[in-house]
Amino acid sequence: MTLLRAEGLAKSFGKTHALDDAGITIRAGEVVAVMGPSGSGKSTLLHCLAGILPPDSGTVHYRDRELTSMNDSARSELRRTEFGFVFQFGQLVPELTCLENVALPLRLSGMKRKDAERAARDWLGRLEVDGVADQRPGETSGGQGQRVAVARALVTGPKVIFADEPTGALDSLNGERVMHLLTTAARETGAAVVLVTHEPRVAAYSDREVVVRDGRSRDVEFAR
């Protein structure tokens, strides 16, 4: 089943054409690696897909809804409820404890504090970082922080997880661990993962890959 479908996406920042007629299709539950050299438009494609960035032209469909025609608050809500995000760094609120960080999206959706934190603690446990629950992100190691971020992305039971260089700031062992936990959890919950990376070993956790070059995306997975 097709979850996300983008067609003819174009996006410019001033004179730089970040995307130029790019397209991609994400099916439910699959892990897709988006690869390409830096500056090729990988992140811009992800931002457009997730409705963070409105494209200059082209369409993005999530199921039967068109993202590009939704207003900001509707897209916000969609991102909060249907999507999860993991970035390279700086994604945890530095003032909140790790537990509160994970509980935050649940609380924003109106869940009671106690319930939200119970669910958050559960997820921290699944990602093997329940030990840092009461610490602030600044007090944890990079690998722990990324795992907390993964927990936060998964806690709402999203349909798609967008991961932009999730291991970019980690060494290979920590990076592999995070990737393993992320993909395992995503497969268990049936969430699709859009994984932007330039590391082949990270991309190897995907089911297929899409290469972005000069703002154009090509599906490299041939029929098996």
């Binding site: 050299p37 393993h180 590391e199 082949p200 070993r201 190897a204 956790y205 890959e209 490299v220």
Partner: protein
């Protein structure tokens, strides 16, 4: 690496003498291991026998062999098939891959496609290794990681080459 495919690829630019073919091959691919004449002629005669090349006339002169060879349609198809088929992902592929890229460029085919095909094959192998690794014990993991790191190096090289393919095209066709 297949010398036959390389010679076929070189012949795509136009008919040549065996001696010319050896010189062109050595210049592009044979930096540390130049071809022997014997190798050239035995390969050519095999290609001739398989109908992939034809003799395009003999020149008069006092040199050893003054036969000119040309590629046949079947030869062109063979080159095409060869370029489109990814090499089995394993270490030390650079010679073959490099030859494929250069020959694609020389014959005006898409070198990027050659590279993408190869990277897809590499990544498929890496996925398998990754899967084996996650399911296996520590020994499996270490062995798989060894292969993975090597394949990753190849893939990096593929990416780098892909990024510089335009530059290479200029140099090769000069």
């Amino acid at each position: 690496m297949s010398i036959g495919h390389a010679l076929l690829g070189l012949l795509e630019g136009g008919p040549r003498h065996g001696y010319d073919l050896k010189r062109a091959y050595d210049e592009r691919f044979g930096h540390d291991r130049p071809l022997h004449y014997g190798q050239v002629y035995s390969t050519l005669s095999r290609l001739l026998k398989n109908g992939l090349v034809t003799e395009a006339g003999v020149e008069a002169g006092d040199g050893p062999e003054r036969k000119r060879y040309a590629i046949t349609d079947a030869g062109v198809t063979d080159v095409e098939r060869w370029l489109a088929t990814p090499e089995k992902p394993e270490p030390y592929l650079q010679n073959t891959l490099y030859a494929k890229v250069v020959l694609a460029l020389l014959s005006g085919r898409s070198a990027t496609e050659v590279l993408d095909t190869q990277r897809a094959a590499h990544l498929t192998t890496m996925r398998e290794l990754t899967r084996r690794k996650t399911d296996g014990d520590l020994a499996d993991q270490l062995i798989c990681d060894f292969a993975l790191f090597h394949l990753e190096a190849d893939l990096r090289w593929l990416e780098l080459t892909a990024a510089r393919v335009d530059q290479l095209a200029v140099e090769v066709t000069r």
